[in-house]
Amino acid sequence: MTLAVAIMLTVITAATPLLIAAIGELVTERSGVLNLGVEGMMIMGAASGVAVAIVTGSSILGVLAAIGAGMALAAIFALLTLGLAANQYASGLALTIFGLGLSGVIGAPFVGVQREGIRRITIPWLSDLPVIGPILFRQDPFVYGSILLVVGVSWFLWRSKAGLILRACGENPVSAHALGYNVLRIRLYAVLFGGACAGVAGAYLSLVLTPFWTAGMTAGRGWIALAIVVFASWLPLRAMFGAYLFGGLIILQLHAQTAGVAVPSQFLAALPYLLTIVALTLIMAWRRGSGAGSIAPAGLGQTFTPDR
C-alpha cells in the first residue's frame, strides 16, 4: 500500500464523523432551526453507544442507542425552541454544555474498558484493485453510510416535495404556515434527524475510530461540523467536500510533522474556521455583485410561533 493511499484512508476516517454530523445539522438548519448543540449530541452518542455496546456486546445495539441518545437530546432542544419558543442560540449552547456533562456521568463506569472496534467491510474482488480498491471497497459501514446519506439528503431536499416544504419552512415559515403546513412539526422532524446524525457521528468515534470511552472525546468535532455547514453554504455535496478538506488538513498536518517539517499546528487547528469565514466572505461578495440575497435560509435562527 503506497503512502498516498494510506493517507487517503486516514483522511476518510477522520472526515466521516464530521460529514455525518454536518449533514444532520444541514437538514436542521434548512428547516430554519440553528442547533448549536451538535457537540453535546455527538458526545452523548459516543457515550451511550460505547456503553450499550459494552453491556450488550452488540455494536448494532450500540449504534441504535447512540441514535436514540442524540435524538433524546435533540428532543429537549425541540421542546425548548419549538414548544416554548426559547432562543435557539442560548438553547443550543446549553445543550452542548449539558451533553458534555451528562456523557461523563454515563461513561464513568466504562472508562478504560477495552472493546474490539467495528470491522471494515471488504468487498470481494473489487477491494483487490490497486489504489481504488482499498480506498473505495475496504471501508467500515459508516463510510458507506455517510455517502448514502449525502446522496439521500441531496435528493430529498431538491427532488422531493417533502424536501421543498422543509426548505420553505426555513426560508419563510409564515408563508409555509399560511399554506397550511405544520411548520413546528416539520422543524421537529428536522431537529430529530440532526440529533440522530450527531449521535451516529459520536458512535463512530467511540466504536470505530478509538474504540473506548473517555470524557470529552469529541474534542471540538461538533463545532467543526457546524462550520462545515456554513462553509458548504447549506449544500450537501459541498458539505462532503468541506468535510474531506477539513479532515485532510488535520491529517496532512500530522504527516508534515512526521517528516520533520515545522508546521504551526495551532494555526492549522484554527484553519477550518478561518476557511469558513473566507468562503462565506467570497460567496457573499460574489452574490452581492450579482444582486442575489443571502445564501443562508432566510428564517434561520428565528423562532416561529403560529398565530392561532
Binding site: 486516514t10 477522520a14 474534542a219 515545522a262
Partner: protein, 359 residues
C-alpha cells in the same frame, strides 16, 4: 474517602465545628492527608496512578492516616480547594501536577504550618517538597528494545507538548536506540494534548503510514497502543500496565508507583522528621516500575534486563557526555554528565534527531 468538591464543602463546615472542641486525644487522632488530582480518578493514566498510590499509603499506615482526595481540579479552582483542605485540618497536602507548581508555592506561603508536596515541580520551600520519577530511564530502555524490534529502523513518537520532560524523553529514547543500532531514526508528532484519544490515534496512523514500526507515546490514552495492535506493529504503554489494550503488540509499560513514597512521607510527618526534599527517584527507588516484558524473545528479554540492571546500578547514564545538539554545538564533552537541573531544563534535541519544535 473519596470526595468531590461539593461534598467537601459541607464536610469542611462540619470539621470546622469539630476542631473548635478541645482535643484531648490528639496523639490517637489520625493525621489528615490531602491529595489534589488534575484529572478524574478514572483517566486510566496519571491521576489513576496517584489514586493507587493514595490507597497504598492507607494500606501501609492503616489508622495512622486519613486521606481526603479531590479529583479533576482545574488550576483556577486550586486555591479554593487547598484552602478547604487546610480548614479540614490536613497537615500534608500532595498536589499532583506541574500545573499546580506555581499555585502550590502561593498556598505554601499562605499556610506555613501545612506541609506541601508538588509532583514534578522544580524548586522547594521550607514547607514544600517536590517529587518526580526518572521516567527517562524507562525511555532509554524503550529505545534499546525498539532498536532490537524494528525492521524499518524508524521509531514513531506521539508527543504531547514541547516541554523539557518530553524533550529529554525523546533524546533519551534515541540514546537507547543508538546504543544498539546507530542507524535508528525517529519521527515525532505533537498531539498538543496530554489526553485526546482521537488526535493521538490520528498521530499514530500518520507515523505508521510513514514507515514507523515501533510506537512510543508520551500522551496518556491507550489509543496509540491500540493502533499499533490494529496495524500489527509494536508499542509501549504509558503510566499504567497497558498490556490488555494490545496483547499482541505491547512490549512493556512504565508503571508509575507513588504509594511507597507517599507512605514514607506521611510516616515522616507523623515522626516529625519531614523535610522539604527534592526527590527524583529512578528505577532503583521503586517510584516507577516496568510491566513484564511481552512479545519479546528470550534473547531480547535478556538484553533488556541487562539494561535495566545497568540503569539501576548507575552503570548506564543516559545523560553522559559527549552531547551535541541539533545545531552541531557541543553541550558537554566526553567524561562530563548533565546535572539534574540541566536535564530538567533541556530544550534542545540531539544531533541526528530530525525533529522540529512545533511552531
Amino acid at each position: 474517602m473519596n470526595l468531590n468538591r461539593r461534598h467537601i464543602l459541607t464536610g469542611a463546615t462540619a470539621l470546622a465545628a469539630s476542631t473548635a472542641l478541645p482535643r484531648y486525644a490528639l496523639a490517637a487522632d489520625p493525621m489528615k492527608v490531602g491529595i489534589v488530582l488534575i484529572g478524574p480518578v478514572g483517566d486510566f493514566g496519571w491521576s489513576t496512578m496517584h489514586d493507587v498510590g493514595r490507597r497504598r499509603m492507607e494500606e501501609v499506615l492503616g489508622d495512622a492516616v486519613e486521606t481526603t482526595q479531590i479529583e479533576a481540579v482545574a488550576p483556577p479552582d486550586f486555591d479554593r480547594v487547598v484552602t478547604q483542605l487546610v480548614r479540614a485540618d490536613c497537615k500534608l497536602i500532595f498536589t499532583t501536577s506541574f500545573s499546580y507548581f506555581q499555585p502550590t508555592i502561593r498556598m505554601a506561603e499562605q499556610f506555613p504550618d501545612v506541609m506541601f508536596e508538588n509532583a514534578t515541580g522544580t524548586s522547594t520551600l521550607p514547607n514544600m517538597a517536590i517529587y518526580n520519577a526518572r521516567f527517562y530511564e524507562g525511555r532509554y530502555l524503550q529505545g534499546v528494545i525498539a532498536a532490537m524490534k524494528s525492521q524499518t529502523k524508524q521509531i514513531g513518537y506521539v508527543a504531547a507538548f514541547p516541554v523539557p520532560e518530553v524533550i529529554h524523553a525523546i533524546n533519551t529514547v534515541m540514546r537507547g536506540a543508538w546504543s544498539v543500532d546507530p542507524e535508528m531514526r525517529i519521527r515525532v508528532v505533537w498531539a498538543n494534548a496530554w489526553f485526546n484519544p482521537g488526535v493521538e490515534a490520528d498521530a499514530a496512523r500518520a507515523l505508521i503510514d510513514q514507515g514507523c514500526d515501533i510506537l512510543c507515546q508520551h500522551t496518556d490514552s491507550p489509543a496509540p497502543l491500540q493502533l499499533a495492535e490494529e496495524r500489527g506493529i509494536y508499542g509501549f504503554g504509558q503510566a499504567s500496565d497497558m498490556t490488555r489494550f494490545a496483547p499482541r503488540s505491547h512490549l512493556t509499560s512504565s508503571i508509575n508507583n507513588w504509594g511507597d513514597y507517599y507512605a514514607s512521607r506521611a510516616q515522616a510527618m507523623i515522626d516529625g522528621t519531614w523535610a522539604p526534599e527534592d526527590t527524583w527517584g529512578g528505577l532503583d527507588s521503586g517510584m516507577f516500575a516496568l510491566a513484564p516484558f511481552t512479545n519479546m524473545t528470550p534473547e531480547e528479554t535478556a538484553v533488556a534486563e541487562n539494561v535495566v540492571a545497568g540503569l539501576r546500578s548507575g552503570e548506564i547514564d543516559p545523560f553522559a557526555g559527549p552531547i551535541v545538539n541539533q545545531a552541531g554545538e557541543t553541550v558537554i564533552g566526553e567524561g562530563e554528565t548533565l546535572t539534574d537541573d540541566e536535564i530538567r531544563a533541556q530544550n534542545y534535541f540531539y544531533q541526528g534527531i530530525e525533529v522540529s519544535m512545533p511552531g
